[in-house]
């Protein structure tokens, strides 16, 4: 390099654009037909996909006379096995969401985009869709030829079969989704009688369209350009994260295998530039350029590379799960020395504890006491002071309850309107207005605590109690 300013400028420009060559900007102009090769990771991927089986089968499980898991939106209830969770308990949902958000973070920090590569519905559905495509249309080369070929009867037959199957999967997805929100068996009955509600029909149609377009056409484009999590997870990965990595120390300089050439006088690295890793990649990236935005860390390139290495009698693991630090000769930092692991684990533990606490203390009945604000108190003709309260009795059980309301044992206190028990309807909030009167001379403060108790027994004879503190307000 000379000291001439012009040539230095040119050198900077060259360097800049040399980098640009490696930018993988896949705008979906060309459909990616990834090759499918068998292997360890391929099997693992199918196993991981099984987490979606409960999504399809879960709604058909029963508990007593109703669905075991049911998000009953019209009645604002969530049934989980024998437990009914009402909106009042939904603070637990925020902890659950926190748990999964942090789980995503910790897994990504340790092993890359595991969610994207193995579990995400976009990945799993696309995988199933392309599997069908391969079964019907054959391997990638054949598929490309079919796409470009003339419109023959065979082509129409294959294409119609494929699209019909895709739509059926979409419909099953939609129906399964809806089945979590309404009685699953009744849903099928209504479906066959063409008697579905508008919400169900629209939801199912949207799912069919969404599944068809996202898994059938957009595929990796969704990960590249639509999905925010793909980007968020990118920032969670660091040098200690184990991700599918090409060992460039071992692989470079890459070079084709020469026939008859002995291993001894080989001057190239282990990479034979066979491009198998690119051919199997569902997002069409080249892992040899390093970890990049398009890589969903599905590890299928590892299978492909290992198969080639095995055939060539070279050691496996040219592409393997490895962190950048280890690849560059640094020692692997143990888990307990990573502050992130500690912080994430702590948050996970806290949210789990919160959910556990919430589930363990789910009360069958719960009362809320609303003190009337205007007027705060009313003077009665005998000189006593009256306060008005609205008592809301929440009954989470599946049976109506007769709930007795009592007030604390204050001298001279009269509780009006609670002589008869409140009939708390099942799964609902029942309100009752009560009045508390206290003789003026017995009142000790302008505002004194007033605890209400609700008591009932359920059909099995178990005593259920709930209490709630409010105030009694009197003039100065």
């Amino acid at each position: 390099m000379s000291d001439n300013p012009q040539s230095r400028h040119d050198a900077v420009v060259d360097e800049l654009y040399a980098e640009a060559v490696h930018w993988e900007i896949n705008t979906g102009e060309e459909t990616i037909h990834a090759k499918r090769v068998p292997g360890k990771w391929r099997i693992l991927k199918w196993l991981a996909s099984l987490v979606w089986v409960p999504f399809f089968l879960g709604p058909y499980l029963r508990w007593d006379d109703r669905q075991a898991i049911l998000f009953d939106i019209p009645n604002r209830q969530f049934h989980l096995l024998g437990i009914t969770i009402l909106p009042q308990d939904f603070w637990m949902l925020s902890l659950l969401l926190l748990f999964f958000a942090i789980l995503l973070a910790v897994v990504t920090a340790l092993a890359g985009r595991v969610w994207c590569g193995f579990f995400c519905f976009q990945t799993v559905w696309t995988d199933v869709f392309t599997w069908l495509e391969e079964k019907l249309e054959g391997p990638p080369q054949k598929r490309k030829k079919l796409d470009q070929g003339a419109l023959t009867f065979t082509k129409v037959r294959i294409k119609v079969t494929k699209h019909t199957l895709w739509l059926v999967i979409g419909a099953l997805t939609g129906i399964s989704f809806v089945a979590w929100f309404t009685d699953a068996y009744q849903l099928w009955v209504d479906l066959f009688r063409f008697n579905l509600g508008a919400t169900a029909v629209v939801t199912i149609l949207l799912f069919i369209a969404g599944t068809y377009v996202l898994a059938g056409y957009l595929r990796e484009q969704a990960c590249f350009w639509l999905c925010p999590y793909a980007r968020i997870q990118g920032v969670m990965v660091d040098n200690t994260t184990a991700v599918p990595t090409y060992d460039f120390h071992r692989g470079e300089p890459r070079g084709r295998v020469k026939k008859g050439g002995g291993e001894a006088q080989r001057t190239t690295g282990d990479c034979v530039d066979c491009n198998q890793c690119v051919a199997v990649c569902p997002t069409g990236v080249d892992i040899r350029q390093g970890q990049q935005e398009g890589c969903i860390t599905c590890a299928l390139c590892i299978d492909a590379c290992d198969a080639v290495m095995e055939k060539l009698d070279r050691p496996k693991g040219l592409i393997r799960y490895e962190s950048l630090d280890v690849l560059n000769g640094k020692e692997e930092r143990p888990l307990y020395k990573r502050p992130r692991v500690w912080v994430y684990s702590l948050v996970l533990l806290l949210s789990l504890t919160g959910i556990g606490y919430g589930m363990a203390t789910l009360d069958a009945i719960e009362i809320k006491v609303i003190h009337s604000r205007q007027p705060l108190y009313v003077l009665q003709s005998d000189g006593s002071i009256q306060n008005k309260y609205t008592i809301k009795v929440l009954n989470k059980l599946t049976e109506d309850l007769q709930v007795t309301i009592t007030a604390p044992d204050v001298e001279g206190l009269v509780l009006v309107g609670a002589d008869e028990p409140v009939t708390a309807r099942k799964g609902m909030v029942t309100a009752r207005t009560v009045f508390v009167r206290i003789p003026r001379e017995k009142i000790t403060a302008e505002s004194q605590p007033m605890v209400f108790f609700a008591e009932t027994t359920d059909s099995s004879g178990e005593l259920l109690v709930s209490k709630r503190e409010s105030v009694f307000i009197a003039p100065r």
Binding site: E29, S381, Q386
Partner: protein, 280 residues
């Protein structure tokens, strides 16, 4: 352009600045184009189904015949239908029967809240807490009685109790004495109470008479409650209530609602007032 393009074969538009900064003619991403065309189809479909394009004399109505006011009216009709079932039940019931039914009285209280706000709250306060010169109706002190039928009657026909002005009949000293007696809570102990015929309306024991609407002078609740209660009592004794011969007389009129509200609405209001806290 094409002949002297320094970066051939990369699909640029030929617009080049600063030697190498050039505008490429790349297609937008596939998903973007799908969304773009889908939006156009959506707009076309929407235009066919729904009102869309304004014109000089109207607008395109759309084949669904949907209108905003129509949707509103449907919503109103739906609410009316739900209420209708309750209203039909209320129609044939007396206020007392409604009070005996917890579900129906809950409905009545909820639906009469608006009626109370429109017709009663201006004087009696939003929750019956009363106002300057206007009685509290959330307590248990009733001039005419706190039975639900009586409340119904009060709303239907209105009330206008009269207490004559005594400024010309009593000396200042007598007014002071009577006021002090009323303040003590036992006016009957004062000889003047009998002598000046206060008992005729307020009763021999000073407890008032609900048939007349005369105030109970022995309880803790004041009909005309003011900061200086003694002065307030004196003012009432001197100038009376609703006495047309005395221009300083207190005005205390409950207007008649029988010709403004339907019997059913009044019945609901009576239940509402009864449940404010002092029904008897």
């Amino acid at each position: 352009m094409a002949d002297n393009n320094p970066f051939p074969g990369e699909n640029n538009t030929g617009h080049i600045w600063d030697d190498n900064l050039r505008e490429l003619d790349n297609p937008p991403p596939r998903w973007w184009m799908i969304a773009f065309w889908a939006s156009i189809i959506w707009v076309a479909g929407y235009g066919i189904l729904y009102p869309m394009i304004p014109g000089l004399t109207g607008y395109t109505k759309g084949i669904m015949g949907w209108t905003q006011i129509g949707e509103y009216q449907e919503g109103v009709a739906e609410v009316e239908k739900v209420r209708g079932e309750f209203e039909a039940q209320l129609q044939g019931m007396t206020a007392k029967e409604i009070l005996a039914n917890e579900g129906l009285s809950s409905y009545t209280i909820a639906s009469a809240k608006v009626l109370f706000g429109d017709n009663c709250a201006a004087c009696h306060g939003s929750n019956g807490q009363g106002g300057p010169g206007f009685p509290v109706i959330a307590d248990d002190d009733w001039l005419y009685g706190g039975a639900v039928e009586t409340i119904e009657q009060t709303i239907t026909n209105g009330r206008m109790g009269v207490m004559p002005a005594h400024a010309k009949l009593l000396s200042e000293g007598e007014v002071d004495k009577l006021a002090a007696a009323v303040m003590s809570g036992n006016p009957a102990a004062e000889p003047l109470y009998m002598e000046k015929a206060c008992f005729a309306c307020h009763g021999p024991d000073g407890r008032g008479m609900q048939a007349l609407g005369s105030a109970n002078l022995t309880d803790a609740v004041w009909r005309f409650n003011e900061a200086d209660q003694q002065a307030s009592v004196k003012q009432t004794i001197r100038h009376g209530v609703n006495d047309t011969s005395d221009p300083m007389s207190r005005a205390a009129v409950m207007p008649k609602f029988g010709d403004r509200l339907s019997a059913n609405e009044i019945k609901k209001l009576a239940v509402y007032v009864y449940k404010l806290g002092g029904g008897q």
